[in-house]
């Protein structure tokens, strides 16, 4: 049975004339009315290297989705850089931001009666916040993360931000040595290069089947990372047969319940 689109609430019937006017002013074309409305849930910010490279990808994805005749619209969540917030009272806001992210996704998707979403996450609180929202909303969702940062290289030794933090407090390391490591510990965009929280969560999204193979591990700078974004639109069940189902929660149920059999 075809479940009616959630978005019909705002696009169908005489009483929704005002809403339709506004949708048109958002760029919705006549032929897109009655088609699924897909949210591109991005998390672009220039405060977090795991998210600073995501400015254009949301609009790129909107374009890919709309090739299928659907309407897509992007919004962004907040993102806190735990590494920059670390060690002072900024860190008090980190975990609470998870709930703010989950709530803001719920607010946007329910406020506008979205049918499905592509979640572009990456760092520590963003992936769990969006996963919480996906479970809460129970609409089809696919996850693609911004990808991990490359490890920093000094000679043949690899470094990451935690090395910089540890060595900063080690009195046996000279200022000069530390400066070289600081310059090189975080060389690219992406979530920090160790198996810290961001990468753990993005690997986990892949393991529970909410994201495609390679989501947790292909570096942010690589062309295959961009391909993952394309596949999230083309290969995921998001766009197949206009599905509007209870699948999201089922994936998670299935994975966890089976995991618990052991």
């Amino acid at each position: 049975m075809q479940i009616p689109l959630r978005s019909n609430t705002t696009t169908q019937g005489r009483r929704m004339a005002g809403a339709r006017s506004l949708w048109r002013a958002n760029g919705m074309k006549e032929e897109q009315f009655g088609k699924p409305v897909i949210a591109v849930v991005n998390s672009f910010t220039q405060f977090v290297p795991g998210h600073a490279h995501l400015h254009d990808i949301g609009q790129y994805i909107k374009g890919l989705i709309e090739k299928h005749g659907f309407f897509a619209a992007e919004f962004n969540t907040i993102a806190i850089d735990d590494g920059i917030a670390m060690g002072h009272d900024g860190m008090l806001y980190s975990l609470p931001s998870r709930d703010v992210i989950a709530d803001s996704v719920e607010y946007m998707c329910n406020g506008h009666k979205v049918d499905a979403m592509v979640c572009i996450s990456n760092c520590d609180k963003i992936t769990p916040g969006m996963l919480m929202a996906a479970m809460r909303l129970n609409i089809p969702a696919v996850f693609v993360s911004g990808g991990p940062m490359e490890a920093g290289l000094v000679g043949s030794t690899k470094y990451d931000l935690v090395d910089a933090m540890v060595l900063a407090a080690d009195q046996s390391v000279s200022d000069q040595e530390l400066s070289v490591i600081e310059q090189n510990a975080c060389p690219t965009c992406g979530s920090c290069s160790g198996m810290f929280t961001a990468n753990s969560m993005n690997c986990l999204a892949e393991a529970i089947g909410m994201a495609l193979p390679g989501n947790g591990t292909i570096v942010a700078t690589h062309a295959n990372r961009k391909r993952l974004f394309e596949e999230a639109v083309e290969k995921s069940s998001l766009l197949q047969n206009h599905i509007i189902t209870k699948e999201t929660k089922k994936y998670f149920h299935g994975t966890l319940e089976h995991a618990m059999h052991f």
Partner: protein, 345 residues
């Protein structure tokens, strides 16, 4: 969850999985995590527990290859569906680099390598490839069951009189020589005091640093203790000391660092009743953590604390400005063993 245990991931995932499961209305608790941690091997160690980084996990076949090793050990249920319409079994068959039917697409993905080492802030801007995969399951980045770092997992849940509802330790980051550890409590009522204590030589080998009132409610916000644990490492105390807290850790933390102590100090937990120089016994193998005082004394301390009325279970001497937004958060948030979800109903 099994994946996280198998790869010794961040302890924060426990918090987030509990919260996500709650949103999905799935019954999943600390007891489940404890049970899974006992049967899931630690197959992969990545920074901060080794020199490997996530790019090296990719070269070794990524997440589906880790799941494939768990599957070969008979530890996975693979009939579950995935977002691309495949079952986990089908996904493993296509993407396990040790499998017979590994696809060219899989090889291409896992050969994706970092760029040329220069600063690069652009998504998808380089197309470098390794010439070969890391398929060494004996000494490589991903191990098979036979060559696992340990047969039980990278995370453990400990229980005891100072963590009646449990606490979490990332065993993948702990030197086995201190799996059993008894030490002297050095108590700090905030992360800031603890940092000053560690860097100010107030902490010695054999101490157990207690950092409390940093839980979801008590902080509020359950700060990460990355600086205390990193300074531990800097001061070369990480193999000789333990750290316990009702706060949490970054995935960057290693050493005998025990977090998520529940109930938290700000929620009336016994961690608030620890006094300077108390003895604390930790046994990871036995999954226990206890304050070595009698039940009678513990009860007396609780009575004395409760007698403070509205000042009970608040941090003495802590100077911290807490905004109204954070106070609103603190009012509804649950303890770490519930995933720090909001309790509304």
């Amino acid at each position: 969850m099994k994946l996280d245990i198998a790869m010794g991931g961040s302890t924060n995932t426990v918090l987030h999985l509990l919260a996500i499961a709650h949103e999905a209305e799935v019954d999943f608790t600390m007891e489940d995590i404890d049970r899974l941690s006992r049967v899931t091997p630690n197959l992969c160690k990545v920074s901060p527990s080794s020199q490997y980084h996530v790019q090296d996990v990719n070269r070794a076949g990524g997440i589906l290859s880790i799941l494939a090793e768990l599957d070969r050990a008979g530890l996975m249920e693979t009939s579950v569906n995935r977002i691309d319409g495949k079952t986990l079994k089908e996904a493993i068959a296509a993407y396990d680099i040790k499998g017979l039917n590994v696809s060219d697409d899989a090889k291409k993905r896992f050969l994706s390598s970092p760029g040329d080492g220069r600063r690069n802030l652009v998504l998808g801007s380089q197309d470098n490839y390794y010439t070969n995969l890391d398929d060494d399951r004996e000494k490589g980045c991903i191990r098979d069951f036979e060559h696992a770092y340990s047969k039980d997992g990278g995370l453990a849940v400990l229980y005891g009189n100072i963590a009646e509802n449990g606490c979490i330790v990332k065993t993948a980051g702990v030197d086995p020589s201190i799996f059993k550890f008894t030490g002297t409590a050095k108590v700090f009522n905030s992360q800031d005091d603890a940092v000053n204590g560690i860097l100010g030589d107030a902490v010695q080998k054999g101490d157990v640093i207690v950092i409390r009132y940093e839980g979801p409610k008590g902080g509020p916000g359950m700060q990460e203790m990355l600086y205390p644990t990193s300074y531990f490492k800097s001061m070369q105390l990480d193999k000789y000391c333990a750290l316990i807290t009702d706060g949490r850790f970054s995935g960057g933390t290693s050493g005998l660092s025990i977090g998520h102590v529940s109930p938290e100090a700000g929620g009336g937990g016994a961690i608030a009743l620890i006094q300077e120089n108390d003895k604390i016994e930790i046994d990871i193998t036995e999954r226990s953590i206890n304050l070595m005082i009698s039940n009678t004394e513990l009860a007396e301390r609780r009575q004395a604390e409760e007698a403070k009325g509205k000042n009970a279970f608040t941090p003495v001497g802590r100077k911290r400005n807490i905004s109204k937004a954070l106070k609103a958060y603190a009012r509804f948030v649950s303890a770490a063993d519930k995933g720090a979800i909001r309790l509304i109903d």
